[in-house]
Symmetry: none
Subunit: 222 residues, 4 copies
DNA sequence: GATGAATGAGAGTTCATTCAT
DNA sequence: AATGAATGAACTCTCATTCAT
């Protein structure tokens, strides 16, 4: 009543400025990452964002929508990480695969990035469309890139005649699982950096699919 | 599905008082598997068990305790399998590992059993003691058994000098991840049975750690 | 079905044996005295009585009725204590009053007796008819007896022209209040026996109503 | 009675946000006074305050806390009276005692205030800390003030060598007991105002402890 | 007579959401 | 834009009471 121009009596808002919503999502990620969806209260998000609870509703119509917007936004970020990674590497599939694997380690150093897969897996039942979106934009793309590389390796005679999708998953899952494990069982985290794990996993994987024996594997003493 | 057969609509039960707590857990598993922990109401469990809400409290002091009892019960069953499997197999580590891997496939055929890891993962932050319990009784023991087998293989010169814990996880994680994947992204489940996946994963793993080249891997066409 | 004679098919009971109900009331007094009415569960009473909860309902139709029966029974006991006490003492009103006062001390040594006034005061609003009954059978009678004694004292020229009812209350209330105080604030109970208190209160009272100065009062050092 | 005027049925209020907690306590006192603690539902308080049940929780974290806050608030008021009253009266202990006694009459004219001791008594066992608080802030301080006055009277040769604490209780208990009596046995309330009772009790008390005979007591005809 | 088993009807408490300002 | 205040609709848990055996 004091801010609105009395000439234009538009009681409902439609404009949503850009900075604020992102700040809210930023804050929401922090609390969702720690508490999960159900246990996070709108008050928590508001407090983390330095806003009042009601203010959140200026930008997002519901708690579900905050969550969805958050995941969609972060998926975008995640996707950016991997998007170009696998391109133009078919000349040297092994180097390409190694590059992708190492990128994992780097990306998931950021806990706010690492939280995303766990959140999605945990809440997939409640937000099947989100899970679907994640699958389509992140999983399938990453898998696709890996599959292409693996197929290229097979075609080049570097790899055995494995099923590429399966092999791709065999490479990715120990890495994803490790970041899930670290979040779910923080008490059992040895201080080992992800990079070391990645190298070991990749080496094991490479030996698994190599057409000919490779260099001897050097295990990691945790 | 097994507690209340939707085909036969007989709302009244022949009571088996001694088995009541187990029936409640049975029902609880059904509901938790579909809704997760937080979204499951005591009324849901009660209804699934053919009881009143208050009756649940005759057997379990709280919702948390229902969940914990459920995990303990299911885990106890699984654990017996693995414990027995891992012992007495050190003579033939490869056969031992293969046996354990195959047992996974069998155990997690039951979708309600498969739901447990997902629920644990989703609720680990809210129930750290439950997660701790799960880690201690399931993860550590399974890992321990695998590590022993792998170490035996290394000692016998069958496997390369890999880090056993890491190798164990590299074997297990594709399998665990697959059951998570199937639940989180049901739309992307190809009908492939777990057994086939297990064989492929195990073969890839074996080639990865084998000291000498093995028989050529035959990939699975999904 | 196994105990009841199949010839006489009387599904409802009317007979209530004598011993059991009293045992129940005995137990009920214990728990009501400690927890008050609302906080006492039927289970508590049952456990204290060594019976099942359902068995209580064989003897009393409701929790309220247990309470009422208990109070009525104990009022009878209490009443018996004081009933004849004040009779035939009009020859020597001072001795009569002293006798009554000392009886208080003796009676309320028993905590199960002492609990009654507190219970009744505490629950008077919920059980107005019980309170009424207590007033009629205990308070009025006791007061009546005291009033008669005091009136006799006045008539004999021993006491001043006080209002007898008021004086009676002035004598009784410090005593009753003390037993309430001891129950409500057990942490502040100095070990002083009731008898000592009674003597002091009585002495103070006597000096208060005496027509002529009496012997010097000897205070009690607690 | 004072919060929701039954005569003017205006369901909506002019909101005074700052005063809300006090309004809630005001309403709570009304309801607690009638129903006691256990039998009062949060809904009752809310309705009496013209609020929703959930709104109460904006100001008080639990029902217990509403009760405690209520007692503290009311006691604070009372206590101020007594504290001031007892000071600066040692020159004339008799006038001081009379003043304190008369303040009782005034304070407990308000039936809602009079309800507090009864509630405390009834709930003392369930809320030992509340009882403790009440004892410390009300009973001990009132007693302390009286004890000092009585001791001053003894020192001045006005009173006999009575035990001051005991004498203080002998003065107070008929008054406290009377307000309990009036609530527990409303059917037996003669219309006599508290002031008259106070004068009579005080006169009796004074004669009881006086070192020399005082003016003849004039009893009250109820 | 007695009980184990069960329940309906609440109770206190929480929280996403709304609205007047 | 933003918020303090408020609430309705749950939810977990409790307990007096019932009933088949």
């Amino acid at each position: 009543m004091n801010v609105i121009d009395p000439n234009t009596s538009q009681p409902k808002w439609t404009r949503k400025p850009q900075a604020r919503p992102d700040e809210v999502l930023e804050a929401a990620l922090d609390v969702f990452a720690v508490n999960g969806f159900a246990a996070t209260r709108m008050d928590d998000i508001a407090k983390a964002a330095g806003l009042s609870k009601a203010a959140i509703y200026l930008y997002f119509p519901s708690k579900d929508d905050v969550f969805k917007a958050l995941v969609e936004q972060r998926i975008g970020v995640l996707q950016g990480h991997f998007d170009a990674a696998a391109k133009d590497q078919k000349r040297d599939p092994i180097a390409g695969l190694r590059h992708v694997a190492r990128m994992w380690a780097t990306s998931f150093q950021d806990l706010r990035v690492a939280a995303l897969p766990r959140i999605i897996l945990a809440e997939a039942l409640r937000f099947p469309d989100l899970a679907e979106f994640y699958h389509r934009t992140v999983i399938e793309r990453t898998q696709g890139a890996l599959v292409e590389l693996i197929q290229a390796g097979i075609d080049a005679g570097l790899f055995r005649q494995v099923e590429p999708l399966l092999a791709a998953r065999a490479l990715v899952s120990p890495l994803v699982f490790e970041i899930l494990r670290r979040q779910a069982f923080p008490a059992h985290n040895i201080g080992q950096p992800m990079e070391v794990l990645v190298e070991a996993v990749f080496d094991l994987f490479l030996n698994g699919i190599a057409a000919v024996p490779l260099q001897p594997f050097v295990g990691v003493k945790p």
